[in-house]
Each structure stands twice: as C-alpha cells, then as structure tokens.
C-alpha cells in the first residue's frame, strides 16, 4: 500500500461543516497559507483550478521516489508497483461516482475526454469499428444537441464533429435568468438527434441542470447522452449509474487533484464498441504490418505511456473528498454560494448571472459590474489578495446571449470560509467608487 500521510485534519465529523472545521481543513492546503500583495490570500478561483492538499502533493512525490516506471509492461518490481497504484486509482475514482473501474478511461483533462469521444464518433462515421460502432456514426441529416450554456470544451469538439460528418449542431436555448428552456428541448430533440451533450452544473451560472429530464428525453429518441460533470463531480455527490448517462467527463485539477489527468466515463458495452481515437502502444492485442486488434476498454483508449503519478495523486484527492463527505461539501458550498449571491445583490451596480438568491446554485457566482470591465475588477481584487476569474469563462455564446462580453466569477470550495466570502464582498463594494462610476 502506498505510504501517504493522513490529512492532519482527519474529520469524520458528524453534522454539517462550519468555519471551525474549514479552518482545520485549510491547514492541509499549504498554498492557502500565504500573503498576496500584502494580504492573506483569498482563493476564489476553484472553478478554474482547485488547490491540492498535502496528501495529494505527497502522493505524486511518493510515486517518483518509490515507484516510477511504466505500467502494464515490464516484469520488474517497480513496474508492478506502478501498475498497482495506477489501477487502484481507477477503482477509487470508479467507486466515487458509482461505476465500474473498467468504465473509467484516463485522459489529460475533460477537454481531451470530450475530444476523444468526438473523434471516436468520427472514426465510427468513417466505418471504423464495424457494425458494432454504427450507433456512433453521424451523417448529413443527423443532429448533435448541446445547450447555450456550454463551456467551449463541450461545444467546439461537437462543432468540429458536425463539420467533419455533415451532421447539424443544434442547441437548447437559455432564459434571461440562465435556466434551460426545457419546453424548447422537446421541440429540438427528435429521431435525428444522435447525441445530446450538456453540462451537469454551469461554470458561469451555477445552475444545476435536470439530468433526469434531459436524459429521459434523449432515451425516448434513442440519442446518446454525454454529461459534462466538471463542475458537479468535485462539488456534489454524483452517482453516474443513477443518472443513467452514457458518457461523462470531469477533470482532476478541479477536484483537489493534479493537472494533467481527467476522466472519461462510458458504459462498458459502449466503450467496448467505440473505435479508438489515439492509437499506438499499450492499447493492442495483435499487430501485423497491415492492421491491429485492440484491447477492451479502458486500455483501448490509453495509448502510450500514461499519467501514472497524476492517477496516484488523484486517488489521494478523491480519498480526501470522501473523508470529508460529498454531501457535507455540497451543503457547505451551497451556503457559501447563497452568501455570495445575497451579498452581491446588495451592492449597487452589480448584476449576478443565473439564479437569484434563495434559488438552488452551486458555490459560485459570476457577475457584471456596471461601468467597470471584469479585467479591472479582477485587478482591483487581486490587489487585496483576492483571486477570482475574469473574462468569458470559456463560454462566449452564453455571455453574448446575456448581453455581456465578460464577467467576474468567484468560485468556492471546501477550504473557503464565510470570512473569505465576506472579504470578497467588502472588496467588491469598493470597485465602483475606485473607478469613479458610482452615481
């Protein structure tokens, strides 16, 4: 078993999280204990990249100190030790989202996972994978359905797939408050729809989309369902089997893990029928000079030397989340999310995107400051040690729909206190006076 230190804050605490517990959790995150521009760092950009607990950092170090070698090949002891942690991580992640280990494919990140799918569908459209892969094939007349709130990662790979296959890309529009117009989706989905791909939780609006409603709709028309779970798996309990989606993607670096690793989940029978995307070593059974036979999933999608230290570190990250309890994390961030929105709505000249205070949202809020560009807002906050995201958050079409070019986003995680949110709100209240746009 890997020698990985137990988080100092070992919790298993009953009841909801509170600021006292979060203060203990923060001790596990070395990076949070620093001054930025003369102020204690207030990190509110976890929606982009989350921070790592010591156990994650140590796991990656332990790999390089004790186990570094290639997996699934080599008869030596180190190769076995590397393979062991690599596959153990798959089991840990699979259990975390309630699926089987062979249904978890490692990728670089969620973006790559979505590209893998789109290119595998492309290959199927060219006839690769034979009759078994026909259900993934697209042709002119077919449709791919996404939503207007998608991150570019869940939009552009489908645009490109549409260009390559002649299929049409359609999208479910959003309301002014950012909710999906479900009644429109009934009209948009049909027997022509081959793929429905949508985000579980919006990285801009914070809304949680009704997976059950959308999935049922897709099932009625025989469309495959792809779930972008980047903003849900890190922040709420997610049971992919119960959600009954065909594919799902998420990224390690948004869930306390390292960069360089992400996940594609796919139902076994689908993954095993899907032609591979990246090809090469470690994903084959027999190879001749003319052709090759491929291993079953997940290996058929993991060509070449893999991200082994990252898998081991992601294992530690998932364990950290499990120990804290995802239902407790979700409840805490819901509280922080409401505190963010309630506070922002009190400040004059601020428009919060997505649901208003009191309505369900995850622990993030994107907002526009009247008369001040988001880049200036971000600069002003950074001067006080507060890290937020500015720009279009990789969702240009959504911003355009809401009549904006860019916004500022604060996103929380299990290591943020209510004091972090309050410090942020105090600072935001100073933005318009500083830039001289207060009435």
């Amino acid at each position: 078993m890997p020698v990985v230190s137990t988080p100092v804050s070992l919790r298993h605490a009953a009841g909801p999280m509170d600021d006292a517990e979060v203060e203990r959790i923060r001790n596990d995150f070395p990076i949070l204990n620093q001054q930025v521009n003369g102020h204690p760092l207030v990190y509110l950009d976890s929606g982009a990249t989350s921070q790592n607990p010591l156990s994650v950092i140590e796991a990656e170090q332990e790999f390089y100190e004790q186990r570094n070698s290639a997996v699934h090949r080599g008869a030596h002891t180190l190769a076995v030790a590397a393979t062991e942690v690599y596959e153990q991580a798959r089991e840990t992640v699979a259990e975390f989202v309630n699926v089987r280990p062979e249904e978890i494919v490692w990728t670089s990140n969620a973006t790559e996972a979505l590209n893998l799918l789109a290119y595998a569908f492309s290959n199927a459209s060219l006839g690769r994978g034979g009759a078994a892969a026909e259900r993934f094939a697209l042709k002119p007349g077919d449709e791919i359905l996404v939503t207007e709130m998608e991150h570019h990662a869940n939009l552009i790979p489908w645009q490109e797939l549409a260009f390559r296959t002649g299929a049409a890309l359609r999208y479910i529009p959003v309301d002014d408050d950012g909710t999906l117009r479900i009644e429109e989706s009934e009209r948009l989905i049909s027997g022509r729809t081959k793929v429905l791909s949508f985000s579980h939780a919006s990285n801009v609006l914070g809304t949680i989309n009704p997976v059950d409603v959308l999935t049922a709709m897709a099932r009625r028309h025989g469309a495959l369902v792809v779930l972008d779970a980047c903003q849900s798996v890190p922040h709420l309990p997610v049971d992919l089997e119960a959600l009954d989606v065909d594919f799902a993607v998420f990224s390690g670096h948004k869930m306390l893990g390292p960069t360089g690793i992400g996940v594609l989940y796919g139902r076994s029978e689908l993954l095993n029928a899907l032609p591979p995307f990246l090809t090469g070593g470690s994903m084959i059974t027999t190879v001749s000079m003319e052709k090759a036979e491929y291993l079953p999933a997940p290996q058929r999608f993991e060509a070449g030397t893999q991200r082994i230290s990252q898998a081991m570190a992601l294992d530690a990250a998932v364990n950290y989340l499990k120990e804290t309890g995802m239902d407790r994390v979700h409840a805490w961030e819901r509280e922080l999310g409401q505190r963010l929105v309630e506070g922002l709505e009190q400040i004059s000249g601020i428009r919060v995107l997505g649901p208003r205070a009191g309505v369900e949202r995850i622990g993030l809020a994107a907002f526009d400051v009247d008369g001040v560009h988001s880049h200036d807002v971000g600069q002003f906050l950074d001067d006080q040690g507060i890290a937020v995201r500015v720009g279009h958050h990789c969702a240009q079409p959504l911003h355009r729909r809401l009549g904006l070019v860019s916004t500022t986003r604060a996103s929380t995680y299990l290591y943020n206190t209510t004091a972090d949110v309050d410090a942020f709100l105090d600072a935001v209240a100073g933005v318009r006076p500083f830039f001289g746009v207060q009435q």
């Binding site: 521009n37 003369g38 001040v372 560009h373 988001s374 880049h375 200036d376 600069q379 002003f380 001067d383 006080q384 500015v390 720009g391 279009h392 240009q396 070019v405 860019s406 100073g430 500083f434 830039f435 001289g436």
Partner: protein, 154 residues
C-alpha cells in the same frame, strides 16, 4: 488599496477611460488615404477597430471603436490625442518607444516630454498580464498606418 494599484490606475487613465477621445469611427473624407486595423485580445475579449486618415505623410486623425478594460480604452483615447498631426514616421517611432516601456517590466520610465499623457501607463509595465491591454490601440495604429501607406504605394 495599495499605492501600486494607484500607480496602475492613475487619475489620468481613469479620466481617459471615460472620456474616450476618438471613440466612434469617423467618416473618411473623399480622397483621403485610410488605413484600418482590427485587434482582438482573445484572453479577455478586448477589441478595437481603429482608423487612421493620412494626408501626405501626416496622420490627420484617428478614430476608433472598441470595448475593453479601462487600460485598453484609456490607452486608445490617449493615443488619439497624442498622434493627431504627427508625421507617420514619428507616429510609428512613438509606438516603438511606448512598446519598449511596456515590455520593460517597469525598468524603463516613460519620458513624459516624448509620450505625453501616455507616460501615465508606465505602471502597467509591472503587470505583464495587462501590457496587451495597453498595447492594443498602439498595435492597431501601427497596422493602420502601414495599411494606409500600402494603399498609397499600390
């Protein structure tokens, strides 16, 4: 807030960000030589379309439309005031000098005698992520002048 921030957002910058001299694309007089350039900063979405009208080798006037942060908009406004009436060679030389200050990470102080109000942007050089904001209109002018001169020679 810190003095660094006040150094970055000098009063003159905040005023220009609101006043926006040159904002609104001007109609081009008949027979005038025109150069136009569109610049986009994909990281933040800042955007500018800038027109330079040349008479002989003189930059007669600059007009632009765009959207972006206070640094990029103020920079376009300051540039409009600074460049009008200059010989094109001199205008391009000032762009070069401004660029040098911006890329210096704060080691080169702008010469107010030469760059006028644009010297107020010296503080931007210490924020590498913001240098592109300050440069946006200047790069556009450089391209617009070159485009106008190509029209002339072609």
């Amino acid at each position: 807030m810190s003095s660094d921030l006040q150094q970055l957002y000098q009063q003159i910058i905040l005023e220009h960000a609101k006043a926006r001299h040159g904002d609104g694309l001007a109609l081009v007089p008949f027979g005038a030589r025109l150069g136009e350039s569109h610049q986009l900063n994909p990281t933040c979405g800042d955007e500018i379309t800038l027109r330079a009208v040349l008479d002989g080798s003189t930059v007669e006037g600059i007009s632009w439309e765009g959207q972006g942060c206070s640094i990029s908009m103020a920079s376009a406004s300051v540039l409009t005031d600074l460049m009008a009436g200059l010989p094109d060679g001199q205008a391009l030389k000032l762009v070069g000098e401004f660029r040098e200050v911006m890329r210096s990470r704060g080691s080169i102080e702008a010469d107010e005698e030469v760059l006028g109000d644009a010297a107020a942007f010296s503080g931007v050089a210490r924020y590498p992520a913001r240098v592109k904001c300050a440069m946006l209109a200047w790069v556009a002018l450089e391209e617009a002048v070159q485009a106008a001169n190509r029209t002339a020679s072609g």
